[in-house]
């Protein structure tokens, strides 16, 4: 590092403590919510346990909101950790975001488990206000208020990240590499991919959270004063814009772990280039514009939006398949890479992300959506992204941070177990979707139930794999110090 780089960077002592806190909490919550997921699938299988619809839909809301929120926080930790290498971030603000988020979590969990709120994590208007007596207005307000607080917590740390980036790079656009992309500045191979990704995440997620805040506030107003009833289609647009952007931003944040760690293993550089910058600019725009693929079955939407939704769904996959996954594979090919827990998980994450694009793009076609929309096909594709993409990024990062990736045989076997279980789980969702099994059904018809059992079993396998990786990490994390060789080498 040069002197000027050190001047901008966050002091080393401040980089890890709060990140460890995020990861420790995140891993515990992930494991707990996986158990909830496996229980749901078992309930749909109906041979091992039975859960009443009331509790099922509460668990579904808990699993959805909890996983999305935790994914957001864990991905933020990855993003913050690596960004702090290049710009000076404020550890106190980062901690403040965590504290606010935990308050939000208490509100969300309380509204579900005590208040019986069960409108799903997407809180699709006007369901929160129309439970037919199942949950109270207070429970709905607490849930929606919790999500709003979570959004505020994110905006807080994004503000700090944004200011720090502008201080060092002049503007968000410059951090995204636009002057280099358009030839106004020469390509600077030392410009960190982590900064490019951070800029993208800031742009899309601030927009996404802003839309989320608007729709949450409108929902609150409607709950307090029901005659104030906004248009249902408008609300749906806002909700899916927010939901799509937020969950996608988690992956684009967490992939920074791959950019930063995989090159250390492969002993080859992952540097910015024109295709890299073009891909990230394209992704920035497409993540913002592609959400209408959630509304293909709303025929009241203008046709051009449906067409745009279908086409952008396809093009959104190209940067990942052609740039990120491909570059990752190039990096690994004949690199003599050391396969340990962290490197296996990071390569697995690229696989999960890339392979999940296939069912996603296919479901993004209007013709297919007519028969696949809101079947289990949909959880099938996004569990590929999240369970097999995002989570291995986070786990790989945690493994690297706590143990330099070296978790011995248990770690390697754990990664294998995880990969097998997760693939099986996702495939069982896809097959269910192809058999027209609806998503979000507490009770499944007899002919669908065997798939629930397969899913529950695979969920159990995933959980075992997760624990094999996460427990040693959790035990080591508090005392872990990064060996400096792997940081610089």
């Amino acid at each position: 590092m040069t002197a000027s780089e050190l001047e901008y960077a966050t002091p080393d002592t401040q980089r890890t403590p709060v990140v460890k806190l995020y990861l420790g909490i995140g891993l515990l919550v992930f494991a707990g919510l996986m158990l909830v997921g496996a229980l749901m699938r078992a309930a749909q299988g109906a041979t091992t346990i039975s859960i009443g619809p009331e509790v099922f839909y509460q668990l579904m809301t808990l699993h959805g909101a909890g996983m999305v929120g935790t994914a957001g926080l864990a991905a933020l930790a990855v993003n913050w950790y690596f960004l702090s290498k290049y710009v000076r971030l404020n550890q106190k603000i980062f901690l403040g975001t965590l504290v606010l988020s935990l308050v939000a979590v208490v509100m969300i969990v309380g509204s579900i488990l005590i208040g019986k709120f069960a409108a799903g994590w997407t809180f699709l208007y006007p369901l929160p206000a129309t439970s037919l007596g199942l949950w109270s207005k207070g429970a709905a307000l607490t849930f929606v208020g919790g999500l709003l607080l979570l959004g505020v917590a994110f905006l807080l740390v994004y503000l700090d990240m944004g200011i720090a980036i502008v201080r060092r790079y002049g503007s968000i656009a410059r951090a995204l590499g636009l002057p280099m992309l358009f030839g106004r500045e020469p390509i600077d191979p030392t410009h960190p991919p982590a900064v490019v990704a951070s800029a993208m995440v800031l742009i899309v997620n601030v927009a996404g959270i802003a839309a989320g805040a608007i729709v949450l506030i409108m929902t609150i107003l409607h709950l307090i004063y029901p005659p104030l009833a906004p248009d249902a289609l408008l609300m749906k647009n806002l909700i899916y814009f927010f939901g799509h952007v937020f969950i996608n931003a988690t992956i684009y944040s967490a992939v920074i772990a791959v950019y930063e760690i995989l090159p250390l293993y492969a002993r080859r550089p992952w540097t910015v280039s024109r295709p890299f910058l073009a891909a990230w600019l394209a992704v920035t725009l497409m993540v913002l514009a592609v959400y209408p693929h959630h509304l293909l079955m709303d025929f009241a939407m203008p046709s051009w939006m449906a067409i745009m939704g279908q086409i952008l769904s396809y093009t959104s996959g190209i940067p990942v398949l052609v740039v990120t996954a491909f570059s990752g594979l190039m990096l690994v090919y004949r690199s003599g890479i050391r396969w340990d827990a962290a490197s296996s998980l990071l390569v697995l994450s690229l696989f999960g992300w890339a392979v999940g694009i296939v069912p996603a793009v296919i479901d993004g076609m209007i013709n297919v959506n007519l028969v696949m929309h809101n079947t289990l096909w949909v959880p099938g594709h996004f569990h590929f992204y999240l369970l097999l993409g995002l989570l291995p990024m986070v786990l790989g990062f945690a493994s690297y941070l706590s143990a330099n990736g070296q978790q011995g045989r248990t770690g390697r076997v754990g990664a294998m177990v995880y990969a097998v279980g997760a693939t099986l789980l996702c495939l069982s969702f896809l097959v269910s979707g192809a058999l027209s099994v609806p998503r979000r059904f507490a009770v499944h018809e007899e002919s669908w139930q065997w798939l629930g059992d397969v899913g529950a079993l695979s969920g159990g396998i995933v959980l075992v794999g997760t624990l094999m990786i996460a427990v040693p990490i959790l035990l080591k994390l508090p005392r872990a110090r990064l060996a400096s060789i792997s940081e610089s080498g």
Binding site: P126, A300, G336, V371, M372, P438
Partner: protein, 173 residues
Amino acid sequence: MQISILLVTLLGMAFVAAAFVFVVLNSGPRDEDYGGIAKRGYFIRRWWMIGLCAAGVVVSAWSLVPFPLQASSVESPRIIQAIGRQWSWELASSSVEAGEPVRFRVTSLDVNHGFAIYGPDDQIIAQTQAMPGYYNDLDVTFERAGKYRVLCLEYCGLAHHTMVAEIDVKERR
């Protein structure tokens, strides 16, 4: 239809998986000449990119022309109102003839519901959203006689999964 979709998807996924397996199996021994690897990689990548774009253009054109959601050109389909509410369907008529073009005019009285028609073999044949304040027209021509069902495919609360209606499709007279 769904089974072909599944097979195409699995094929695509197997292709991605094969690329990863190939690289993982060939991750060693180390080749110090990364420049050479990158050069070959970029060559492959260019064609991979062109191939994906070409496939995208072809598939988009094939699947979007004619636009799949346009109400079909049938002159005067039989119109059947379908109203969803927590937690039941109200169909203006639940009996149609095979081969008769039907237009379901779908809406909701309370929250969002999903109006999905399941064939006698329990596969979805078509769907649309049932949304308060909006009418969505879904054109269906039932080819075969039999018992069809309408299931709710948008989560709408406690009894979402029990929101079922039947449509009796009779042999053409």
